[in-house]
């Protein structure tokens, strides 16, 4: 399995929307390589015909009655918001200038 490079970590951090600074990148990249090395052993363990398990105790078709129940008020739902306006979450601009 490949080592994880500093550039790759920067790319992944971008995908994960975390602004890592240079010091963090220098610190994290070698640590992630060591972690990956230590778990690389699993690559050849399971044969192709072994089915994957996503939940150990799977339940399917979990339904409940469709009835109206008490829920949060708008005020409660917005109580933890960094900013709100007119009963809505207020967020920074989503589109760039050219969009």
């Amino acid at each position: 399995m490949p080592d994880i490079t500093r550039d790759e970590v920067a790319h992944l951090a971008n995908l994960a929307r975390i602004d890592l600074d240079d010091a963090e990148l220098d610190h994290l990249a070698p640590q992630l390589s060591v972690i990956l090395e230590s778990i690389a052993s699993i690559a050849d363990v399971a044969a192709a015909d072994i089915p994957p398990t996503s939940h150990a105790i799977p339940l399917t078709n979990v339904f409940r009655e469709d009835v109206v129940r008490p829920s949060l008020t708008a005020e409660q739902a917005l109580s933890g918001a960094p900013a709100s306006e007119q009963q809505r979450f207020s967020v920074p601009r989503i589109l760039g200038d050219e969009q």
Partner: protein, 521 residues
């Protein structure tokens, strides 16, 4: 230091939850008296222990007074009505801060209660406060809390385990008779092991997760943290059972766990087949841990159990599979912390876009371990690596479940040491993730397979005088077996020790305040 801080040994603080319930039922004490004793103890020792992130003295005393009123009217809400409890800071509590040990949720007050918290309130248990934890439950030492580490009551220079080190330490330091923890890879059981307390991870789906801030949905479970096996069972009876608000909750007619513990405490295990897992022991396990484990197995034999050795060959791959599945799920779960609807919002200079704000907020709000795991998970799920990492890990999960199935054909319960070592020093493994992850090597298989597991104290390791944990595992839905076998072993061990192991813990009344090494805060 208050009187309560010095008086452990003679006060209400020493009583188990079951004993407190009996005293309350007999009218020999009040919930207000018990709750006040806990609050005084917290005031006296928590500057040293740092088990709590938030103490709600006013709320707890009001709930205690209401409990006493119900009791006077002859209408207690449950057997534990009036017995106070501490709650890990990863469960939503209406009106009380819930930080998950993270700066990104500093100051957040949930507008609702988790189902478990609601059930505690309905059953009349006053909530003392919220306990410290590794940030978003990621860690084995509680050093990854953004608010500074918790200290092990047995030795303040050592870790209390993690991620639920706060709940375990609160119970071990007699600040609370009961606590709630969560266990994704061992976060209830491993802190239990290193603090000399009892902790149980239920069958996956056995206790509701509605209102639990998720780390890894296919692994996370809520469970009891206590000083005795019976107390865990009593608490499990209160918080367990089907919840329609959690789609992974099992609708199953659970029998009384307290009944199973009481049966077990008689000490007769005739006909019970106990399997010792070959792969979880020996090399890599501290000598004193192995010794206390072996002695406990011998006691089970004395109690009539039939002991067999069982091999689970794929368990050696559990840690690697876990460290792919858990970060993958965590990276997805923690995407919700986007600085838009709740939590920290950092505004970079200029005219930042929403994405700029997310990046800056997540960098400022998350600690190192959380960043490590989000990046690792993002990597494992990314195109080109998915099959090699996440896909393989899911297949290993199947193999581990099959190992359990084969083992449970030969044994009713499986046993192992809970953790490979006793508590290590604060700071020792803080910047060595792989070494830190090894602490969970014996607890992780149960999470991957969804089976229940319990840890109880097996004594002190001769070489360092620190607690050793004994783990018992049962098939899915057979949590009652853990209480039966656990209570039997506990009774036999306490007969040898001449009382609970925690009687041997330092009183904490004359400890010197310690400096925080590695100061995470």
């Amino acid at each position: 230091m208050t009187e309560q801080g010095k008086e452990r040994g003679t006060s209400l603080l020493d009583k188990s939850a079951a004993e407190l319930a009996d005293l309350l039922a007999a009218g020999e004490t009040t919930s207000v008296a018990i709750t006040q004793a806990c609050l005084d103890r917290i005031a006296a020792v928590d500057t040293d222990i740092h088990a709590f992130l938030h103490v709600d003295a006013e709320g707890a005393l009001a709930q205690a007074a209401a409990s006493d009123a119900r009791r006077s009217a002859g209408e207690p809400a449950s057997p534990l009505d009036g017995v106070p409890i501490a709650v890990k800071d990863v469960l939503a509590t209406e009106g009380l801060p819930t930080t998950c040990g993270s700066k990104i949720l500093e100051g957040w007050i949930p507008p609702y209660d988790a189902t478990v918290v609601e059930r505690l309130k309905d059953a009349g248990l006053p909530i003392l406060g919220k306990t410290n934890m590794d940030e978003f439950a990621m860690g084995s030492s509680t050093e990854h809390s953004a608010y500074g580490p918790t200290h092990n009551p047995w030795d303040l220079d050592r870790i209390p385990g993690g991620s639920g080190g706060g709940s375990a330490a609160a119970v071990a330091a007699f600040e609370a008779p009961l606590a709630i923890g969560t266990d994704t890879g061992g976060s209830i059981r491993q802190p239990g092991a290193v603090t000399g307390t009892v902790g149980l991870k239920p069958t996956y789906g056995g206790i509701s997760r509605y209102g639990l801030v998720a780390m890894a949905n296919s692994l996370d479970q809520v469970g009891p943290v206590t000083r005795t096996v019976l107390d865990s069972a009593l608490l499990h009876d209160v918080i367990g059972g089907h919840d329609p608000r959690d789609s992974t909750s099992i609708d199953h007619p659970w029998a009384s766990f307290a009944e199973a513990a009481r049966t077990g405490a008689a000490g007769d295990l005739s006909g019970v087949r106990v399997g010792v897992i070959t792969e979880l022991g020996g090399e890599g396990y501290q000598a004193g841990v192995q010794q206390r484990f072996d002695e406990s197995v011998a006691l089970l034999v004395k109690a009539g159990a039939e002991v067999v050795e069982v091999s689970c060959p794929n368990f050696v791959h559990a840690l690697a599979a876990y460290y792919l599945i858990m970060p993958s799920e965590a990276s997805s779960n923690l995407a919700r912390f986007d600085a838009m609807r709740y939590g920290l919002r950092v505004l970079p200079d200029g005219d930042p876009s929403a994405e700029d704000v997310m990046r800056a907020s997540r960098d400022a709000g998350f600690g190192d371990e959380v960043k490590r795991r989000i990046i690792l998970g993002t990597y494992a799920l990314s195109s080109g690596y998915y099959d090699a990492y996440y896909g393989q890990a899911q297949k290993i999960r199947t193999l581990i479940s099959r190992d359990f199935e084969a083992a449970f054909e030969k044994a009713d319960v499986l046993v192992s040491p809970t953790a490979p070592t006793t508590a290590f020093k604060l700071g020792e493994k803080l910047d060595d993730p792989v070494s830190m992850y090894l602490n969970d090597i014996a607890t992780i298989p149960a999470n991957l397979a969804g089976v229940p597991g319990l840890s109880l104290p097996a004594g002190l390791a001769p070489e360092d005088g620190l607690p050793v944990g004994f783990q018992i595992l049962a098939p899915a839905l057979a949590d009652d077996r853990l209480y039966r076998v656990g209570a039997a072993l506990e009774a036999l061990l306490e007969a040898e020790w001449g009382g609970p192991l925690l009687d041997q813990a330092p009183s904490l009344s004359d400890v010197e305040p310690v400096e925080t090494p590695g100061g995470a805060a």
